[in-house]
């Protein structure tokens, strides 16, 4: 503990264990210990004991509540009405939560209260030790030097160099082993260019699969569309992968609302009915929201906004490219069909997107 010097000497404090370090005063050392109520008053200590025991009892009650929740509430499958089942589940979940919370908090708070009021609270000073002793360091260094010498690796560079070469090559098989992570048969980026859409493929509603008669679509309406041949794909994952490339958003606008069309796209719409890829060109979320008054399409993930009246150009947000348009027309029966596949890869941009298509479908 600190000793107080006398005022006249000019020394403010003479510290027992402090160090000067050029600060205004010397380190005064630990403040004197102040006993807690429970240290000096047995009654207070008794009271703490009772409080801790009460908390432990609370914990026991919590465990009981948990068991009540687990066994007394019927499981969901025992209800005919699923709303009642959901209510029971909610009650059970709450009882389990509150019960186990009480059980745990009772123990936790009890033990902490015990430690704070009854266990010794004297602060103790312990010296740090240097992380390493100089003698140890020297000894260790000698050992390392000896070991390296004994291997003779410095004297025999042939051994060292061939070992390095071997060690560099040896992990490669482990990398190559992962090649078959891609389990598909047609490895390569070309598959990203093509979807199920092709000339004559009918547009059908998602998810019912009913074909769409052009005459049935009112101006201002929009619908989610998939290609009719999607149902022919077998395998859940394969179907989802194809669907992920060929989902389409279809809307009918007043033909007067269209602004200038890109040359060559004049016959891509049918009486104001226009279709585009539903996959955002940003990172691929479904562009699911259509606002009929502004004819804007909005992606709810990152708010890229596209204008259907102007070739789906980007009017806001992070997308860097318009949505690809699907050329459509009607067949003899008046049902909407595609004129071709998309004329560019849909969805998020990938490195090889701009490359010339070897099959010659898309000019670069």
């Amino acid at each position: 503990m600190a000793e107080h010097g006398n005022g006249e000497s000019g020394a403010v404090v003479t510290a027992g264990e402090g160090e000067s370090n050029g600060y205004a005063i010397d380190n005064p050392g630990l403040p004197p210990h102040r006993p807690r109520l429970a240290d000096v008053d047995e009654k207070a200590a008794k009271r703490s004991e009772r409080q801790v025991a009460t908390l432990f009892l609370l914990s026991i009650i919590g465990t009981v509540i948990f068991f009540v929740g687990y066994f007394a509430v019927a499981r969901m499958d025992q209800f005919d009405d699923y709303f009642e089942g959901m209510t029971a589940l909610r009650v059970q979940n709450t009882l389990l939560g509150v019960g186990s919370a009480l059980a745990m908090l009772g123990i936790g708070l009890g033990v902490v209260h015990w430690a704070r009021t009854l266990m010794p609270d004297h602060e103790i000073v312990e010296d740090r030790k240097p992380l390493r002793k100089e003698a140890d360091r020297a000894e260790a260094e000698q050992i390392v030097t000896d070991v390296i010498d004994e291997t003779q690796i410095k004297r025999r560079p042939l051994l060292r160099n061939t070992l390095i070469a071997a060690a560099l090559l040896a992990p490669l098989p482990a990398v190559v082993l992962f090649r078959d992570l891609d389990t598909s048969e047609d490895f390569g980026v070309e598959r990203l260019r093509h979807s199920l859409w092709a000339e004559g493929v009918r547009l059908v509603r998602d998810p019912t699969g009913t074909p769409i008669r052009a005459a049935d679509i009112t101006i201002g309406s929009a619908m989610h569309v998939i290609p009719e041949n999607l149902r022919e794909i077998s395998g859940h994952g394969e179907r989802l992968s194809e669907k992920a490339k060929s989902v389409v958003l279809l809307m009918r606008m007043n033909p007067d609302d269209f602004n200038e069309q890109i040359p060559g796209r004049e016959d891509w719409t049918h009486e104001g009915i226009i279709a585009c890829s539903k996959v955002c060109t940003h990172v691929g979320c479904p562009v699911a929201l259509y606002e009929r008054h502004t004819h804007h399409l909005l992606c709810p993930c990152h708010q890229s906004t596209f204008d259907a009246a102007e070739n789906f150009k980007v009017v806001f947000g992070p997308a860097g490219r318009p949505l690809p348009q699907l050329p459509i027309t009607v067949d003899n029966e008046g049902f909407l069909i595609a004129r071709s596949d998309f004329t560019e890869p849909i969805g998020p941009t990938y490195w090889e997107r701009g490359q010339t298509d070897p099959e010659g479908d898309f000019p670069a």
Binding site: H4, L105, G108, W114, L181, S184, S304, Q355
Partner: protein
Amino acid sequence: MSASQEKYAEAQYLEAEQYQAKTRSGKIANYVDQRVGGTGMVREFGKKIFPDHWTFMFGEVALYSFIIVVVSGAFLTFWFDPSMSTTRYSGSYAPLQGLEMSMAYATALELSFDVRGGLFMRQLHHWGALLFVLAMAVHMLRVFFTGAFRKPRELNWVVGASLLLLGMGAGFTGYSLPDEVLSGNGLRIIDGMIKALPVVGTYISFFLFGGEFPGNEVIPRLYSLHIFIIPAMILILIAVHLFMVVVHKHTQYPGPGRTERNVVGYPIGPVYAAKAGGFFFIVLGILCLISGTFQINALWNYGPYDPSPVQAGAQPDWYIGPFEGVLRLMPGYLGPIPLEFNIPTPWGGNSVAFPVLAPMIPVAVLFLGLFIWPWLEAWITGDKKEHHLLDRPRNAPTRTAVGAAVMTNYFIMWGMGSNDLIATHFQLSLNDITYWSRVLFFVGPVIAYILTKRICLALQRKDREVALHGHEAGVIEVSPDGGFHERHKLPSEYELWTLVSYEAPEPSEPRTNAKGKVSRTEKFRTWLNKIWFEDRVEPVSREEYLEALEHSGDHEDGAPKSLEAASSGGELGSGRH
């Protein structure tokens, strides 16, 4: 070998055989000790000192929530089947009955509705994971702002930063497992970001998904990452982290009796162990309470994954928020100019999705900065000393300001991750929020830096003021000649020590290299060093302090207070100035 290693004498050998413990626990301990030698550990750790401060418990919270997440997660694995093979749902939740879905989603629903306590454990697992990452982040902020990452703890800081990254990885891989619409769209975003990576992106996406998105493979792969690879790495790094804490001994806040060469605190046994052990139950209890009363990830509302539907207002888990936000922040076009472009090549051209790549830059800088910060700061300040006493954040104004700037940047990105909800809840224009955030993304950190630095310096001046003239007592005195002055209460020597014992170095001069020249890097370092240290508040010097004491003792009642009384505090010293 050193002399401390004693020879195992015959006598000792026999002695060990003869020892008979008196109590039952002593007998058990003796049995174990004779076989694995635990006495040494008890001697080492039983009374090991840990400094106590409420900010030291965030790391504990992280550790405890990790344990809780591991245990609750192990429970979930008994029912969850991470398979993408399809089934027709026939469980208790009527609205989804008859729907085709993956086994992963079906078993996640089974866990929620048909396993008693399954929903509770799912929610405990999810809330625990959120708390795990949160506690790590707050712990890291504490370590940063108090300078606990400085020598010799730099490597442990890196281990901690790795743990934070792994924690987020564990969270995201788990988030994606139930295979419903919400997490499916999250995976789709990840797929889009991976595809944007130049050269390798497309193939990484194919390898991750086993072909085209979403395919049949990704859920089991994420599962193996989620329940085995990432947790194993976290476990190993936690062991390394704690081992290093023991090696270094814990840091402590500056204060009376504390020095760079000691540790002041409570012994592990019994106080610290009881508090820490009790605290585990408190963390678990709070998580149980939240899991029992607050619903999280109601995955039955979303339906099985399908590439077509999406929810408006979907939010990722909190720690993914900034990365989601910065994606939303980035414009795709600058006016009419698209930021996405093609590099012309003989084979047609390669596409660069700059609007997706650009947001990765601040994220990469953030994490790179996190990892190299201890060395960066030491290089700028030229500080090569060991530090076991923490900095009060105000006493390292530039570091605190840099931290505040980075946090501001982070929170702007984070807020942008919810820009749609901010727009709908506060009736604001989504576009305006986005435009303003783009400005704030750059301007906000600058304002935060300047403000924080000024606040730190002001607090330091306040400390000086208190050290020299005492606290304002709020008592106005009238002197016999009619003058008014406020009484000041001088701080105790213990408080005073905390106020005056800090370093505020001046900017350093450039150092010359072996050739006697100042290198270009050294010039740059000196420039940074000047920025770092030029605004400084000098700690109270001994002379200043003595002079101030003299002054306060020079009281008009003619009875100078003794220096002793003034410095040991407690009483009201009346200082006039």
